[in-house]
């Protein structure tokens, strides 16, 4: 079916200024992504999958202006963690600020240099998981990213990485529009932790494709930047082999618009995927977690844990689905999405879904929205804990189940400290 003319025009306008690198295998992959995008067109508010989040700021021709935020009142995120740093400023690789890209057991190549080189494993990954993730729900902004990403990293892990690889996204220009695309392949039995932090740009599009082979382990922790006016759309596409482990946690504090999609396929038996998020917003804040977990093998476990703390008109969205395919017996699926509304102006919209085609599965889901527990608050205060401290304790307690998904205690502590800082600054 041909795309309506208006949709064709909007898409043409959006991509007119973007550069399309056509050389080599990467060019071919980009071409296929562009074809996918052209068939879908850009998302619009009336699309079912965008019912709760207006995509106009994400699809506009120019990135809406976003003031650069001074976050020097806190130590840099993950500062105390020994890691290999790769820095992008407004989406442009910063060699001076980055570490040497050599790490035992890990091959790292920049996407911008990969087109001409024959990186066979990346050929089988770039745009491939994104394309698989277009069914049954279309994700045009991910296809746009695959077609036009200007840089990113290709990471192949063949052993247990000595330290995390840390992707740092610096935002310096009020009008920057960054598109980055990363691929990570964790080979059988290997293990890596990928850290991401920073706002990246006024508008940031990012795709991360992750293949976790048999018995491999992948950990992902990110802290999206504190810039109030930034916009971001991110996608994680993951495919897990037998006995593989995938764990992803995201902290979002501030940001006028954030849409984080996670599309996870448990393709091998006994694979485990946990995806979690803690989002805190005050005022002009719209945060959307859209998750799709497919159980395609037996005895797999998946957990989705999403918590949001909202005040002064902030909006939280959760669209989460567990799809259990025929034959995916003994599936253990869990999904929880909860919001803590600190006033009556804030809003939480949740659409939890289960679709099950196997008969021997255990799936549970829950979604709640509530205020601070006044009885607990009084109990704490009656012991001498000042009201604001008591409130922070209860908010952190509310977020604890999501933070518990971070395995590394030092990283979890860093995230907890960010949240405490945020709560302290947003007490009033």
């Amino acid at each position: 079916m041909a795309l309506p003319q208006a949709k064709q025009d909007a898409l043409a306008a959006r991509i007119a200024g973007l550069s399309f690198a056509s050389e080599g295998w990467l060019g071919a992959a980009r071409g296929e992504a562009l074809a996918r995008l052209s068939a879908m067109g850009l998302p619009a508010k009336r699309d079912e999958y965008w019912r709760y989040t207006d995509p106009s700021g994400l699809v506009a021709v120019d990135a809406p202006r976003a003031a650069v935020f001074d976050d020097s009142d806190e130590s840099p995120v993950f500062d105390g963690i020994d890691r290999l740093k790769i820095v992008f400023v407004d989406g442009v690789f910063d060699a001076g600020a980055s570490d040497d890209l050599r790490l035992a057991g890990v091959e790292i190549e920049r996407l911008a240099k990969a087109g001409g080189a024959d990186i066979h494993w990346a050929r089988d990954l770039y745009g491939v998981l994104e394309a698989r993730g277009q069914v049954p729900v279309q994700r045009p902004l991910a296809a746009l990213n695959s077609a036009f990403a200007t840089d990113g990293v290709l990471i192949r892990v063949t052993a247990k990485a000595a330290k995390p690889v840390s992707l740092i996204y610096v935002h310096k220009s009020e009008t920057s529009d960054a598109i980055l695309h990363h691929c990570v392949k964790v080979e059988s039995g290997a293990e890596i932790t990928i850290l991401e932090n920073g706002p990246a740009a006024a508008r940031f599009s990012k795709v991360l494709e992750v293949e976790v082979a048999e018995g491999a382990r992948f950990h992902h922790i990110r802290a999206q930047g504190r810039d109030h006016e930034r916009r971001a759309v991110t996608h994680v596409f993951a495919r897990l082999g037998a006995g593989a482990l995938f764990k992803s946690f995201t902290l979002t504090a501030n940001g006028v618009l954030t849409r984080n999609e996670a599309v996870i396929e448990l393709a091998g038996d006994e694979a485990v995927a946990h995806v979690a998020g803690a989002a805190v917003g005050d005022g002009n804040f719209h945060h959307d977690d859209t998750v799709f977990v497919t159980h395609a093998a037996e005895r797999c476990e998946s957990r989705q844990v999403f918590k949001k703390v909202l005040k002064n008109g902030a909006v939280g969205v959760f669209q989460g689905k567990i799809l259990v395919k025929p034959g995916a017996q003994k599936t253990d699926g869990y999904q929880i999405s909860q919001s803590l509304l600190l006033d009556e102006d804030s809003q939480f919209l949740a659409k939890p879904e289960l679709e099950i085609y196997a008969d021997d599965v255990k799936c549970s889901h829950g979604s709640t929205s509530g205020a601070i527990d006044e009885v607990a608050l009084f109990y704490l205060r009656s012991r001498g804990v000042p009201e604001r401290v008591a409130q922070s304790l209860l908010v952190l307690a509310f977020l604890a189940e999501a933070i518990a998904e971070i395995e590394d205690e030092a990283i979890a502590e860093d995230i907890r400290a960010r949240l405490e800082g945020w709560l302290h600054r947003h007490e009033h």
Partner: protein, 251 residues
């Protein structure tokens, strides 16, 4: 220590009068008990003194060592030395019992301008006091009161009291839900804190608890007032004859 004068209180939402002029004076070192039928206002009195929302004081005053409690925030009352052991201790998922205790102890010290307790010192003191109440390391690590049995919750209240060292302790039906052994344990914990600088107000339905925590004065409360005051023998009278005789006599 505690001086309550003509205290009248109604429920904010229902416009229902609960306390109708309570007068009560408790001196330092004394243990007073309040007994009374259901609905007489005993728990309301304890909540109003601790500063729970939802009540409107229409008349009267309540001072702790001369300071007006009713004008303070709940945390200020705690720092001033008031402690309420809850009838139903609250479960707080996600907040570790130890974190809670330490935050409370140090918040009170800070409010009083005292030096905060170091992590090491705190650990040492809390372990020692927990041991006496047969509270094990696991209970200290778990979230506040979550998954605790009725008896464990009450012991945890007494542990908090022992750590916070308040001047005025109010025990609201601390015996409810306790078996004989647990009641002994809790009472021993309370008795260990008896001190000439500290006063207790024990609210209970049953004389049983008063066998363990021996009161100096017993009050009978009915329909929002203290209707009779006497010695420990008054509790025995209630145990044998119920409230009916006393109430008839007062009326």
């Amino acid at each position: 220590m505690l001086r309550i004068k003509n205290l009248a209180v109604k429920l904010e939402e229902e416009d229902k009068q609960i306390l109708r002029g309570v007068d009560l004076t408790i001196g330092a070192g004394e243990v007073h008990a309040i007994m009374g039928p259901n609905g007489s206002g005993k728990s309301t009195l304890s909540y109003v003194l601790a500063g729970r929302e939802g009540y409107e004081v229409t008349e009267g005053s309540a001072t702790l060592e001369g300071e007006e409690l009713l004008e303070m925030e709940p945390e200020e009352r705690a720092a001033a030395g008031l402690f309420l052991a809850f009838q139903y201790p609250v479960e707080i998922p996600g907040v570790g019992n130890m974190t809670f205790l330490r935050t409370a102890v140090n918040a009170q010290r800070k409010a009083r301008g005292e030096e905060e307790m170091s992590a090491g010192e705190f650990l040492k003191v809390v372990r020692e006091k927990a041991k006496k109440l047969k509270i094990d390391a696991d209970m200290l690590k778990r979230p506040v009161n979550v998954g605790f049995s009725g008896g464990e919750k009450k012991r945890n209240e007494i542990l908090q009291m022992a750590m916070l060292e308040p001047k005025m302790c109010i025990l609201d039906e601390t015996d409810s839900g306790l078996d004989v052994d647990a009641m002994k344990l809790v009472s021993d914990g309370v008795n260990a804190l008896r001190d000439e600088g500290r006063a207790f107000l024990v609210i209970t339905h049953y004389q049983r608890l008063l066998d363990h925590i021996k009161p100096d004065v017993v009050h009978i409360m009915a329909a929002g007032r203290i209707v009779k005051t006497g010695g420990p023998e008054l509790a025995l009278e209630v145990e044998h004859n119920g409230y009916a005789d006393i109430l008839a006599e007062v009326q």
